[in-house]
Subunit: 331 residues, 2 copies
């Protein structure tokens, strides 16, 4: 890859403002040289099973195997050259860590990734393979944040938060924007919700590009903080997640919660068993790999079959990074 | 599906003649209303690993999850209306059985599928879901052939052999024809070899469409009858297969062996461990499901890395019907 030769960034200045539709459009343009345009697949048999018309946006085929590359890439290429020269830093041993590492590589800058002791070795190897510097810390949030702050202090690197960074949110919205361009009008778009970067960006993209399309989010019953936050009208931050959907254990961010409310996003709960059964269906019928977190969107449609029958539904398949050494037991 | 309304067959008369390139072209036209045009995928990381430029023809996304639908569909739609009225019959509990069942359904005719006692229940359910009549017999080849003959006798159904039927061979060749149309000139095309329907049809297609492209076949060491047949110059039929690649346990057919020799197809052996490792690579890096038999093509390229480095290679990904309840141990 030498796509960065001669490229230069389109600087985005946030200074506390929230992302809007124009940021999603700018993100789409900014990441186009680096991100894949992912295919949209349909499945006759899953249409039959759901009674709806399902359009699967395959972000499992995105670079690093997840939509996370879109947001990380937008964040990295939103920096001025002077900012970028100091590199970027984040704390994530999952898809965002790998995504930021690769995004930094496309710009030829340093990525520092703070990871907890005991993180899955294959994930750390992937992050390192993209050229990032790993910083190992104790496995708790306070240690991770402290380590990230120390790295920032020492290097001047810019912190790119996995889901509250406005450039990340705008970048994640490009998947839905692309989907609408590929398949035209939809009755609804559904994404998983963890920290809320994807669903927040999706809400922005859909509101701007197709106002009549509703946005819904699927959440595991064992990590139902977004659902509870909407129900109570205030952000719930003290739930202890317990779900096989490891990508959705994060707590909804403040800016993300605001976006959910502003756009009237409804959260649908699914059980782990439903997510795993939906994952198996996608593997079997579509012959593509998706991770459990990603399967929540199909699980939500199947759990609410009567409600969604006959509708044209876009499902963001968020990622395909399954740990093949630890396949969960099938439901 | 009601694509069969008003459609009529283009009858192919074989009377002992072998299929040629014109039959592949006719097959492509005949099956176009029913078969998927499958995508061709590339993978940066597998290109790096192999040192070659790999074009994966995704027949795992074909209807019934395997290239077999092409041949079965061509066979069914090659029959005259009078012949078709009696239905079709085959003995196969695998992909060909399901493919013939669905192909018959597209024409609105009966498919009889003879299956051995003890066959995998999920596979039988799939065949029945496509509307075929199942006929259960003792689990040996003599019983299967006898049962198929009895069904033919009683119903007048046409036997469609999984790999020696010339219409089946011509149909399987349409995958490579389509691939060449999608990606242009290739240095070589590689397919798995079991009974030899796919590689036979591929040899015909490639010879006609791109004479400078070589055809190779990948075969498990534990079912090396095609390899041995070419080495000895005579068809070897007494090998007892022992391989995890369950789609490749069949013995190379006579007409198929002739095609291999006529087109100078070379067979490359791979171990089961190499096939499973290649399967895992495809799952991980490409996020698509392929079955072990299908992974032999990538395994063969990786085993012969130095030989193929720098070349443009087409790999026919033959199918994605993995038994998820019995995932093989990873190599």
């Amino acid at each position: 890859m030498s796509s960065n030769t001669g490229a230069s960034a389109t600087v985005a200045t946030w200074s506390g403002r929230k992302p809007d539709f124009s940021d999603v459009l700018a993100a789409a343009k900014r990441i186009a040289p680096y991100a894949h345009v992912t295919p949209v697949l349909q499945s006759r048999s899953l249409d039959q099973l759901s009674g709806a018309q399902l359009h699967f946006k395959c972000e499992n085929f995105q670079r690093v195997g997840a939509f996370k590359f879109r947001g990380a890439c937008n964040a990295v290429w939103s920096l001025s050259d002077a900012e970028a020269a100091h590199g970027v830093v984040t704390h994530s041993s999952g898809n965002h860590g790998a995504a930021l590492a690769l995004a930094a590589q496309t710009r030829g800058i340093v990525a520092h990734v703070v990871v907890p002791e005991g993180a899955v070795k294959s994930k750390l190897a992937a992050i390192q393979a993209y050229g990032a510097s790993l910083h190992v810390c104790a496995p708790n949030m306070a240690a991770r944040e402290a380590m990230a702050a120390a790295v920032q202090e020492r290097t001047g690197a810019r912190l790119v938060h996995p889901f509250t960074d406005p450039a990340v949110i705008a970048g994640q919205g490009t998947a839905a924007l692309e989907l609408l361009g590929q398949v035209g009008a939809l009755d609804l778009v559904i994404t998983p919700v963890g920290g809320g970067g994807l669903v927040g960006g999706t809400a922005l993209a859909v509101a701007g590009a197709s106002a009549s399309t509703r946005v819904l989010a699927a959440e595991p019953e064992g990590a139902a903080d977004a659902f509870e936050s909407l129900r109570r009208g205030t952000r719930v931050t003290d739930l202890v997640p317990h779900t096989v959907c490891d990508g959705l254990r994060g707590t909804i961010g403040e800016i993300n919660f605001d976006l959910l409310r502003a756009h009237g996003v409804e959260v649908l709960l699914v059980s782990d068993a439903q997510a795993l059964a939906a994952m198996r269906l996608v593997w079997e019928r579509m012959k593509i790999l998706i991770e459990p977190s990603c399967a929540t969107v199909l699980a939500a449609v199947l759990r609410n079959r009567d409600r969604f029958a006959g509708q044209r539904i876009g499902l963001i398949l968020s990622g395909g990074n399954v740990d093949l050494d630890a396949l969960p037991g099938w439901a």
